[in-house]
Symmetry: C2
């Protein structure tokens, strides 16, 4: 069986008790840090916590060269540890599909993901989030299109920031988005750094102002705001030092 185990957001202790138990009993344990990263730990600490030798997979092991790991899972229990929730990245749902298609059973053990964490940190209501998008180092109009689509139905947009070749900061992302369409700088957004850690930073302002705010170390994500429920407004004032003028977008 090929078992995808989520590791949650920050360090080795964000894995579920069930996930840890399954990894301890598995025949082989792998980890990948390509689709996301755990900034609060490292491979050595994860190995110590799980009590196992763990082999790190490359991008190609997950994509074009994934057949070998599927083959190994035919007669053994093979665990892949994955930062966040295992099925948020399409890479892993494609790997799950490929395994099942070849007759290898799969299982998914969920964990906290950035999608959950942004609601807790900002007070934004989960049901008001629309489609998400990624801001890539290679400039593209896609994130702007998704923001506009979401605004047309009054939905917030969660923006993931590219990790390769290096983790993008909120400052980088705002510059890239404003290069594509300068008008987006006037939209209100919330920047979030180090979700899941004990010292996250959460700040709400117009996007063009977030560019100059010191969010500290990555990983960073950003939420572009649609109209707000009054409770969302109150939370952003209290949790994210939102400016007075945010009141403009309360419904």
């Amino acid at each position: 069986m090929l078992i995808f185990v989520g590791m949650g957001l920050w360090d080795e202790r964000d894995i579920s008790c069930k996930g840890l138990e399954i990894a301890r009993k598995a025949d082989e344990v792998y980890v990948e840090f390509y689709t996301s990263k755990l900034m609060g730990t490292n491979l050595e600490r994860i190995e110590e916590f799980v009590g196992r030798k763990i082999v790190e997979l490359s991008r190609s092991d997950l994509e074009e060269n994934c057949v070998w790991i599927i083959e190994r899972a035919k007669e053994r229990d093979v665990v892949i540890l994955i930062p966040g929730d295992p099925m948020i990245a399409t890479t892993h749902s494609a790997l799950k599909y490929e395994a099942e298609r070849r007759g290898v059973k799969t299982r998914v053990v969920n964990a906290g993901s950035i999608i959950n964490a942004v609601c807790g940190l900002t007070g934004l209501h989960n049901y008001k989030f629309g489609k998400s998008a990624t801001v890539s180092w290679i400039k593209s109009k896609t994130p702007i299109d998704v923001i506009n689509q979401n605004l047309s139905i009054n939905a917030h947009t969660l923006l993931f920031l590219d990790l390769h070749p290096k983790p993008m900061t909120i400052k980088d992302a705002v510059e890239i988005l404003m290069d594509v369409e300068s008008g987006v700088g006037d939209l209100f957004a919330v920047g979030i750094a180090r979700a899941g850690s004990e010292n996250p930073v959460v700040k709400c302002d117009r996007m063009k102002n977030l560019k100059d705010y010191d969010f500290g170390e990555p990983l960073h994500v950003m939420v572009v705001l649609a109209k707000l429920h009054f409770m969302e407004f109150d939370c952003l004032r209290l949790f994210a030092q939102a400016p007075d003028e945010l009141e403009e977008i309360v419904e």
Copy 2:
């Protein structure tokens, strides 16, 4: 400090290692089963696993009568255990706001939620989900409006099913939605039962046909589909026995 600890989707072992550790060390531990339920366990098993006496909170303890628990958290570490991820229900973000407003520190320990699990079970891409909605026992046009808004930007809709006074099934939900607008019965959807368990049921078909499919015990949720990426189509064929005609909605 008031600490919201997610318990994940199914049983007592879906809590994170960090969440378990925090609950074991806390001064007082509470649990709530109002906003969601853990169908694979019960209070007694959770108490045994955490090794603590745990008091169940009522809806009013979380809402209009929440002051007492905030007061207790002023000088003690008070943990509230919550099924799923703790900040998906707006009830808990309102409680977090109220605590912080009164000068009580709060912390959130994330866990897997239904929002993550549907992607793993269906192969649907997370970034293509739009706003979510709840189908209530009290008929309302809101879920239909949200489905239509999401379809206008080509986004899938996750529908939560009411839990009170009893957990709604997919059959109930389809009947309620079709009573409000019969045309929705022709839309393709995926029904998901017992996400996070070892025997989930996942079935894709037109909504009107899902009504007669045997999903077994609750909890149930449903995703109404927008146009599909070809990989989503392949996954729904393999994971959810989608009919041939689903190909109509592949982009």
